[in-house]
């Protein structure tokens, strides 16, 4: 029986995000995320986060707002890697943001917020 419960338990691994220090909220089943793509999540105070999963299964969350256009679209960008750093490219004007630090790779002056994530 254990062989049956094991995978089903794993398939309901949930992705959680910390919108503010110490607080955690459930975003979705981890499996909802297609590796290499993101989804947007609505935070309790109205902000939006962009959550991503990479090929290796690691998850990330940054703010969803593209600071160059103001549009809430980063979750709909393409995930890539350069020199071992994961990034998302904005779907509007293609600026890239580091998924771990939020820094814009194409403009040193610009960064977006990052949110801690964990799977449970």
């Amino acid at each position: 029986m254990t062989t049956l419960t094991e995978p089903s338990a794993r398939s309901t691994t949930m992705l959680e995000l910390s919108p503010s220090p110490g607080a955690w909220m459930t975003v979705c089943e981890e499996a909802r995320l297609t590796p290499g793509r993101g989804m947007a999540a609505l935070l309790p105070d109205g902000r939006q986060a962009a959550v991503f999963r990479d090929r290796a299964g690691r998850t990330y969350a940054i703010d969803n707002r593209d600071p160059f256009t103001g549009a809430q679209v980063l979750a709909r960008g393409l995930v890539g890697s350069a020199d071992g750093r994961l990034f998302v490219a904005s779907p509007l004007l293609k600026q890239r943001f580091d998924l771990e630090t939020g820094r814009c790779l194409d403009d040193d002056e610009v960064a977006v917020a990052v949110y801690p994530v964990r799977t449970v």
Partner: protein
């Protein structure tokens, strides 16, 4: 007292005359001398060698040899339409037809040549022409409108050019050559035979070994020809192209020495019998006793005369080789060195394949030195062989004439050439000089190599330092077309597999990037043609492909249903109106004859599609790098001018190629007559109806870099048209770079339009079956992506604004009114709906 400013008068402004002016400018002579140019033709120098290209859409301006501002920059006085009438050598003056008199210190005659017209009865009748100037061409074009048959007298280089022009004008074309073979000066018997077969296959009628006895006329106009073999030929027009003669009348009239058979006699410095008078180009009889009718020796003479006038020491012009490479009627013909094997004891190595019309002969001396050769049908190696002339080739002569792929591979590259090998014979540029440059642009600028006939450009490119990294992106060192071939031949079906096997070392195992993911996604879609949003494919698509709609500046999407050919019923039009009204969408008619609905939230897309799909619409692929629309005019059905049903054809084509993934978007149009209301010549592939079928144009573009499309084929039947477009599109998909429209692709394609014709019309690479099969598979497998998405609950799950609140609309997508419709509320974006800064996250 001011110093005397010397005056140089140039008589004749053709290609050689212009080259002479450039040579004067290069030597600084234009700064210290007054330069006067008298030009008989109504326009400045143009590229006479490319004259025929006027019929493939080049304008007289395209053919100009004079860089804009050149005359002004160098203070040169150019008088067009005002030829020199007489020269007074004693007074050192030239009188022009306008009556102006110019005193000269140096006089340069570059009067060129005139076409030789055999003295046969009827030669001056209406309908008789020569083929020399743009004005001749315009007259021929005009007269051909009322003609159905044309005959060219002369089967040499110019004669075949003229025949190509007549054929291009839609005439039933004959060539009459007195010699027993075509191009008797350049090629030998075997080469002439190969040429004959190929040209006859194109539908031209060739009469060799017979002369013209009489031009038959009725009421002063040409109706036929009598040939010396007794036969008669019915024809509406005759073009004489039986060689040229030097124009030396001006020189004769002022007492300069001319050759027995014409030509102004000059010495090695191009000086005539009067040292103040020079003669260059086709009017000159060079010191080796020959008159050169090619442009390259003329250029050399121009340089020599300019150097002599500038008091520079020069080697002098002692003769030039008659090497030529041409494309006549689409057939490559080249001859170089001792093409006819006149040297004593020389040997031939011949390769001949009459099936494909290829003939190659090399002339070798007893001790293995390459002396010359003839290439017909495949002159690819001309650029290498000509510079090797005079040396012992590093590989055996057999290997040099065998076609690629036969026998052992030939490892002979341009690196095998000696340093003093002349690579560009038009401008006499050596391999050494080219080696000093970094790029093709620099080579052209500094040495002019490659700017003449252009046949050496391929070799130059190979001599330049390895081009910079042409890789697609930081993840792949391959180009898009290379990746296409890898994916196709190795049957790679996933991005991860391709990245891990063929990515750059640092990128293997990584994520790829925003450049290579959609590119590879498109390649895989072209090859496999499945639903583009399943499995790994889903992670590769740009957001527009991912959501099957076009993202706008505030994160909302626009929706474009397909309206094939722009034809739509009132009922369907009403449905679009109702959908737009019910979802509050901004509505605009597009340039592609369809309707764009703006302002949909991602979570609204499925409901919008449901309404549209239920009414019989499908995705218009406005979001994809794929076929957009096939625009059409109303055509024969309604229009009094129409000659074919353009709407029906546009619908057929749009339905055939819908959903086809390509390196960039594809646009098309079909016009029902030559009035071209659908603007087909500005499209990637455009079709214009003719009385006999369809003309297919390719490589057109509007937008920022407009380009008129090139004519690929004429008078096609419906089936022929579709088959040719199939091949064209698949060949483009296979070989183009990322985001390269057909226009830039065609410009870049080695060999250009001719090569494209070879591949897709004549199937020179044997690819056409495969290209057609790929397209057949596409047509067979096509499914509407909207309907496919709606049918699958799993696929629908991605169409939510928020993964954790599927029913909540995105509050940042808001609109304000404008002109009775909506527009994005940008204030909400500039302010941001909430504070989202680094501090915001940690507070």
């Amino acid at each position: 007292m001011t110093a005397h400013t010397p005056t140089i008068v140039l008589v004749g402004h053709g290609m050689v005359g212009q080259r002479f002016l450039e040579a004067l400018a290069d030597r600084g002579v234009t700064e210290r001398a007054r330069i006067v140019v008298l030009c008989e033709e109504p326009r400045p120098a143009y590229d006479r060698v490319q004259l025929t290209s006027y019929f493939s859409g080049k304008t007289p301006d395209d053919l100009s040899m004079v860089e804009a501002g050149f005359m002004e920059k160098h203070g040169i006085e150019l008088y067009v339409g005002d030829p020199a009438e007489s020269v007074d050598r004693e007074a050192r003056t030239v009188t022009a037809r306008s009556g102006q008199v110019f005193a000269y210190d140096s006089l340069v005659l570059a009067t060129g040549s005139y076409p030789f017209v055999p003295p046969v009865p009827g030669k001056d009748a209406r309908g008789c022409f020569v083929y020399r100037t743009i004005e001749d061409l315009l007259a021929i074009e005009d007269y051909a409108k009322t003609a159905t048959t044309g005959a060219v007298v002369g089967g040499g280089l110019l004669g075949l050019e003229a025949a190509g022009a007549l054929k291009g004008l839609g005439l039933d074309t004959h060539v009459v050559e007195f010699a027993p073979r075509l191009m008797p000066v350049q090629v030998d018997e075997g080469g002439g035979a190969a040429l004959l077969r190929t040209i006859e296959k194109m539908g031209l009628t060739v009469h060799t070994g017979t002369g013209t006895q009489e031009v038959v006329t009725t009421d002063g106009a040409v109706t036929g020809m009598k040939l010396s073999d007794g036969s008669e030929l019915a024809t509406d027009m005759v073009v004489f192209s039986a060689g040229v003669r030097p124009r030396d009348q001006l020189a004769r009239d002022c007492g300069l020495t001319v050759g027995e058979r014409g030509g102004i006699a000059v010495d090695e410095l191009c000086r005539t019998s009067d040292p103040a008078v020079f003669a260059i180009g086709e009017c000159a009889l060079a010191s080796d006793g020959r008159v050169y009718g090619l442009v390259a020796p003329g250029y050399e003479m121009a340089q020599t005369a300019a150097s002599a006038i500038a008091d520079e020491t020069v080697d002098g012009f002692t003769g030039a080789d008659m090497s030529t490479k041409l494309k006549l009627l689409g057939v490559d013909v080249a001859s170089f060195g001792d093409a006819h094997g006149t040297a004593e004891g020389c040997l031939d190595v011949v390769y001949s394949d009459s099936r494909s019309g290829v003939y190659k002969k090399l002339v070798i001396s007893g001790d293995g030195v390459l002396l010359g050769g003839v290439l017909v049908g495949d002159a690819e190696q001309y650029g290498l062989l000509r510079p090797l002339t005079g040396s012992v080739p590093p590989v055996s002569p057999e290997q040099l004439v065998l076609p690629a792929g036969a026998g052992a591979p030939v490892a002979l590259g341009p690196s095998a050439l000696p340093d003093d090998a002349v690579i560009c014979s038009c401008h006499n540029v050596t391999k050494h000089a080219i080696g000093q440059c970094e790029s093709l642009a620099e080579v052209k600028k500094c040495t002019k190599a490659g700017t003449g006939c252009g046949s050496c450009v391929k070799v130059i490119e190979k001599l330049l330092p390895a081009a910079k990294d042409k890789g697609l992106c930081g993840c792949f060192s391959y180009t898009r077309s290379e990746l296409y071939e890898i994916a196709r031949t190795l049957r790679v079906t996933s991005f991860a597999a391709l990245l891990d096997s063929h990515g750059r070392d640092g990128a293997k195992g990584g994520e790829g990037c925003e450049v290579c993911k959609p590119t590879v996604g498109s390649i895989l879609a072209s090859l496999n043609n499945g639903y583009i949003l399943d499995g790994e494919q889903a992670s590769l698509q740009d957001t527009n492909d991912h959501f099957l709609a076009n993202m706008q500046r505030n994160g909302s999407y626009s929706v474009v249903p397909r309206i094939p050919g722009g034809e739509i019923t009132p009922e369907k039009l009403i449905v679009i109106g109702e959908v737009a009204r019910d979802f509050g969408l901004y509505t605009k008619i597009t340039g592609g004859q369809r309707i764009d609905l703006f302002g949909a939230r991602v979570d609204q897309l499925p409901s919008i599609w449901t309404r549209l799909v239920d009414a019989g619409f499908e995705s218009g692929h406005a979001y994809g790098k794929s076929l957009r629309t096939v625009k059409s005019c109303v055509g024969q059905t309604w229009c009094r001018y129409g000659v074919q049903d353009s709407v029906k054809m546009a619908i057929q084509l749009e339905l055939r190629y819908r959903g086809l993934r390509a390196p960039h978007k594809l646009k098309s149009a079909v016009s029902g007559c030559a009035r071209e209301c659908a603007e087909a010549q500005s499209k990637d592939f455009g079709i214009i109806a003719t009385a006999n079928g369809w003309n297919l144009y390719v490589g057109g573009n509007g937008g920022a870099t407009p380009r008129h499309a090139d004519l690929l084929a004429q008078d096609l039947s419906d089936a022929e048209l579709v088959r040719l477009i199939d091949r064209f599109l698949m060949f483009y998909i296979r070989t183009a770079d990322r985001l390269e429209r057909t226009s830039t692709w065609l410009e870049r394609l080695e060999g250009g339009l001719d090569h494209l014709k070879d591949v897709v019309v004549h199937d020179s690479l044997g690819l056409c079956d495969e290209l057609e099969a790929l397209m057949a598979a596409h047509v067979e497998d096509y499914q509407d992506e909207w309907a496919q998405t709606l049918d699958d609950p799993d696929r629908l799950r991605r169409f939510v604004s928020f993964v954790n609140a599927p029913d909540a609309p995105d509050p940042s997508v808001r609109f304000v009114p404008e002109r009775d419709q909506i527009k994005p509320d940008l204030t909400i974006l500039t302010l941001g709906p909430t504070i989202s800064t680094l501090e915001g996250a940690s507070s």
